[in-house]
């Protein structure tokens, strides 16, 4: 267990337990929230397309994992977060938000109920410390313990239409309480529904199989101890060799999540953003009986003229990038938060905050791309949805 107050040094880069494997695989690295993480291996476009058509393997060990354990854990999280966490079933996961009292977003999170009185809260790497601190403070009056386990948890994601076929047949996998040799793994993982998790073993050590992700594709996120991560990484690469699985970096992760219309903290979400502005009003449960931090501000809501998040689609090949200005005629009406030339769709896509009057799908706007205005049309999110069977 990590000491409750352990903090990471901001000036010294942190390395994933898989760093050497990434170096060997020829990865280029980028700084992400103080971590040196793979930005790409062979090429970001090939990695993007692999996830859409086959599968990609992501090292997400920089993410924060915070455990909330105790008889009052569900009630404590009902108070700390915007969702009704007490209604989350054992084995279920839920996307939620940690709000400030002002109603602004401190972080977006995925909460896994991994026991009757045990939850794992997964936070963005940049917000790990603030989320852990906030959870400790908010849970202080409840009978729970909060542990920042981020340094003791590695996370590997397998994402793409071939993800299931790959994880079904990894040697060494077993389901906790299941067949000792893992003969039930293939069927159990096939039956695992989206946003569900199940505890298992990898070579006899604990693993959490979660059917979650951030790419818009089917896939799994696998949580293990750091000293198991290299063996798991290699086992997955080997199991995926015949399925087109490739290691994929953060560059493709960003283009994939953008096509899937998923917000990214620091771009679409911030302390100055209300969930309702970001299209996340449904995540805030105002009908739950308990109080929660940010409730009053959420009930009041953002100002009527507060900008709202929209999708923008353009023609040609030039991306509207974060920070670029959005215009309606000559009026400045907003700012782009993320944008790229969509690898799947072949045209530029972006997310932007614009004045509510300009937010209707079909509205014709323009983005100033380094001095030239280019037409963009407001488009319903997501830009891309996978075909479901």
């Amino acid at each position: 267990m990590t000491a409750p107050d352990s903090k990471t040094h901001e000036d010294e880069p942190q390395f994933s337990p898989l760093h050497d494997a990434h170096v060997k695989a020829g990865a280029a690295f980028t700084d992400f929230a103080g971590w040196q993480m793979p930005v790409r291996y062979a090429g970001d476009l090939a990695e993007h397309h692999a996830v859409r058509t086959a599968a990609g393997l992501f090292d997400l060990s920089h993410m924060g994992e915070i455990l909330v354990i105790g008889s009052a854990a569900a009630d404590a999280l009902d108070y700390a977060l915007v969702g009704k966490i007490s209604a989350v079933e054992l084995g279920q996961a839920k996307y939620s938000l940690l709000l400030a009292g002002s109603g602004g977003i401190i972080d977006d999170l995925v909460v896994y109920r991994t026991g009757e009185d045990r939850f794992m809260v997964v936070a963005n790497a940049a917000n790990r410390a603030v989320v852990a601190d906030e959870l400790r403070a908010r849970c202080a009056t409840f009978d729970v313990q909060v542990f920042d386990e981020s340094d003791d948890v590695a996370l590997i994601a397998v994402q793409g239409p071939a993800a299931l076929a790959i994880v079904q047949f990894v040697p060494g996998f077993a389901i906790e309480g299941g067949h000792p040799d893992g003969d039930d793994v293939a069927a159990t993982l096939a039956e695992l529904r989206y946003y569900r998790s199940i505890a298992g073993l990898f070579n006899g050590k604990p693993i959490l199989f979660a059917r979650t992700g951030y790419t818009g594709e089917d896939g799994f996120e696998l949580y293990v101890a750091p000293d198991q991560s290299l063996e798991l990484w290699d086992a997955l690469l080997e199991a995926g060799a015949g399925h087109g699985l490739v290691p994929a970096g953060l560059a493709s992760r960003d283009t994939l999540r953008l096509e899937a219309g998923m917000p990214l903290y620091g771009h679409e979400l911030s302390l100055d953003t209300f969930p309702a502005q970001a299209g996340l009003g449904r995540v805030v449960n105002l009908s739950k009986s308990s109080d929660f931090i940010g409730r009053r501000a959420s009930e009041d809501g953002p100002a009527a003229d507060a900008p709202v998040l929209v999708g923008l689609a353009g023609d040609g090949k030039r991306a509207a990038r974060a920070g670029y200005d959005v215009y309606s005629g000559d009026a400045h009406v907003g700012t782009v938060t993320s944008g790229v030339l969509s690898p799947t769709l072949g045209h530029p896509i972006a997310m932007a905050y614009v004045a509510p009057a300009c937010a209707q799908p079909g509205t014709e706007l323009a983005v100033d791309i380094r001095g030239t205005r280019h037409p963009f049309t407001v488009t319903a999110l997501p830009f891309y949805s996978r075909k479901k069977n």
Partner: protein
């Protein structure tokens, strides 16, 4: 194409092949690698005059935008249309088919040698 050792370089990670009064310009493999997959290239019009150090084009990857600087003053004699149609050439063959422009010049400025450039990028 010439060997990398025989090319001239700029601190903006461009290479220059001098042939008589014409300089062929591209970006180095180091720059292409840093950019990631190039998805859009904009080049200056043939016949336009360019000043040394001026921004004359753009090289855009999924992650970022790089500017193309004119390493020499002169007139754009050719722009590589193949790269505009297939920007991935910048990644697959930065010193060959991924060349960007040819500039006819009268005076060649001080450029980096291969040794100086490799020292600059620390390789």
């Amino acid at each position: 194409m010439a060997a990398k050792e025989d090319l001239k370089y700029t601190a903006e990670h461009e290479w220059v092949l001098v042939d008589g009064d014409t300089a062929t310009v591209g970006i180095t493999d180091y720059a292409a690698e840093k950019l990631g997959d190039v998805v859009f290239v904009e080049l200056p019009t043939v016949g336009s005059d360019v000043a040394e150090g001026a921004v004359v084009g753009e090289i855009e990857s999924t992650k970022s935008v790089g500017e193309l600087f004119a390493p020499v003053a002169g007139t754009v004699a050719e722009a590589n249309g193949a790269v505009v149609d297939a920007p991935e050439l910048v990644n697959s063959d930065p010193f060959g088919d991924g060349w960007l422009i040819k500039v006819r010049f009268t005076e060649l400025p001080q450029l980096l040698t291969h040794t100086e450039y490799t020292a600059l990028v620390g390789e």
